[in-house]
């Protein structure tokens, strides 16, 4: 049986990495947003699953995003433990994979199905959607969106990998 202290310390390292990584990721996307490079607004996108009040939705969305960021950091940790190795570059690689998955499946295919206010290509005149769907590679939000998402997730992954303690 392993000593519980290292396990707790490992968990905290993943959670801390996830928190800091999500903070940096969010800041990068927000900065790109302010520079007019993308219309991606992850907080609005996530928050409008539960509220159609934009202000409240954004606040809730940020909380969701940080929770998701820490859950993914734990999943990265499971992977690091499975391969018995962690490093910033392995984290960055996982971040890149996660970005592609997010842009092609998670936000493009799964979120519109469960999101009550987002449109899909099948939304017809008998429904009124409020939130524009991201589209493949999130290109609906601007041509740079995927590259920004990719870069931000690589940085996120690198931070999670760098802070991980096995």
């Amino acid at each position: 049986m392993r000593d519980p202290e290292p396990i707790v310390s490992t968990l905290w390292s993943h959670l801390a990495g996830g928190f800091i990584g999500t903070m940096v990721l969010t800041t990068m996307v927000r900065a790109a947003n302010e520079m007019g490079l993308t219309r991606m607004d992850i907080a609005l996108l996530l928050g409008t699953t539960v509220s159609d009040n934009r202000r409240r939705a954004k606040a809730i969305g940020y909380v969701f995003h940080f929770v998701i960021g820490m859950v993914f950091a734990l999943l990265y940790g499971v992977f690091f433990h499975a391969v018995g190795y962690s490093s910033w570059w392995l984290g960055a690689l996982l971040g890149a994979v996660q970005a592609v998955f997010t842009a092609t499946v998670l936000l493009n295919a799964i979120l519109p199905v469960v999101h009550p206010r987002i449109a899909t290509p099948d939304t017809a005149a008998n429904e009124v959607a409020l939130v524009e769907p991201p589209g493949f590679l999130m290109l609906n939000y601007g041509r740079n969106t995927f590259l920004i998402t990719l870069a931000a997730h690589i940085v996120y992954g690198a931070i999670v990998g760098w802070t991980a303690r096995l």
């Binding site: 007019g36 202000r55 005149a125 429904e127 939000y141 601007g142």
Partner: protein, 594 residues
Amino acid sequence: MRVDGYAPIEDYALIGDGRTAALVARDGAIDWLCLPNMDSPSVFAAILDASRGGAFVVQPSIPFDSSRRYVPNTNVLETTFTTARGSVRVIDALTLPDGRLEPMREIVRSLEGLSGAVPMRWHFAPRFDYAAASPRWDTRNGRPVATSGAVAMAISSWNAGAASQHDDAVGADFELESGARALLALSTAYAEPLVFPTRQALEARLAYTISFWQSWVAGRGYDGPWRDPVTRSALVLKALIFAPSGASVAAPTTSLPEEIGGERNWDYRFCWIRDSSFLIDALLELNCYDETRSLFWWFMQATAITEPELHVLYRLDGGIGTTEHDLPLAGYRGSRPVRVGNGALEQRQLDIYGALFETAWLYSEGKHVIDRDTGRVLARIADYVCTIWQGPDSGIWEVRNGPFHFTHSKVMCWLALDRAGRLADRGELPARHRDRWRREADAIRAFVEGRCWSDALGSYSRIAGSSDVDASLLMLPIVGYGDPRGGRIAGTIDAVTRSLRHGDFVYRYRADDGVPGGEGCFLNCSFWLVSALARAGRVDEATSLMDRLVARANDVGLYAEEVDPNSGAFLGNHPQALVHLALVDAACAIRNRS
């Protein structure tokens, strides 16, 4: 009656599902359909090239007359063909999802024999990618399937003859007796497998589609004169709202000509910021609160990349990339070029800032809250307007020989800053720069009153210092600039009437605009004249003109962009949202002052 294979533009009725739209001619031909969306490449474009464009025809195979209407309070079309051997009714619809597994897009054509025994034919000739690609034909599940790239179309038929393929088309002849029913369904897919519906599912979906449209109309609240034309306009506008994003397309067609044989042929399958304030106003008048909010959210999302600078138009998906280019199609009755994309994207048009702020103002007046982030964006845009209003632009009519100092553009900049100030008063915009907005609004008003007024005309002029007028000046009382019952507005209405009116119709302007060729009268200008007259207190004059204009719609209540004032023939893209928006505004303006 077709000329060289082309039906008159006024012969077309619209069916739509909020994602794509089709034009159906009086003779039963669907001559325009884009897939999967309104702004996608066409699969039927016989309206732009009668021999190569592609169409889906259902009609008697002997001489016939036809009469049409929409199934009451729906976007479902009903055509009755009358022949020497009897009559047949055809119901056409782009069906709406009813919760069952349905194709990505679906056209249902339901036939019923009303009397006698009528020889009928159907002919399905898809031409993909604006007729650039021929279909590949296969048979799946016993149905003919045409594919090209990511698009697939399957034609299913019941009691409509044995389909046979010839000349890159599929069709059949059959006879429909009194009381007999036949059904044709066009199922389409884009980048996914086809879904083959059963007859029962199709009939259920058609019934659902009719009931949805009727319940949608029942939930709207227009109470006033010209109820039927206003309701039809509401249905057209709803069909032109692209449901996957909430944007509204200006018209579902491209390159229907402003002059037969001319080259003023433009692609209108975009969302113009300019139309937004009209649309929000109309949606609120019609109690379409969900659509209002969806449209406003779309605008704030679409403009996020470019703000504080706005683009004239946006793609339906909110993007801004579009290049104008010509297609190798013959054009409607030889009217070339056929264009896709729109070069107006590159222009600076200052009036759109006024339209955006009027949109925000109306949204706020409609008891919607403008959130803090949106308020900050609007404040940045108002600051930007302060820095650009003194420059020239291409104006509301998107002239290609400008830029000029258009009076209408200046007034719309005034409107932007006036509304920004009022929104700041309400606490919906940060008030930091409110005084500056008010100062600049006063400066714009001084410019308009000083430089854009012509004593010789007794009217505001088209351009600062010019000696002519244009129909956009009718917008001044509509947007609330000046005293609508004052001498200057009255003089302007009279000057526009003297210079530009032709019977019940109004030309945009007489000046050169940098594009060769002529054009008809823009129908929205006629309805603007009605609105301006009503606001100026000349309600009887407005009512009389409105009655005559309403009678000039086509047989199913639709309007194209323009009309030839001599023949009454429609010109330009069809049906046009702006005309129907202007109709709603005119009806409300008279109602509110009666």
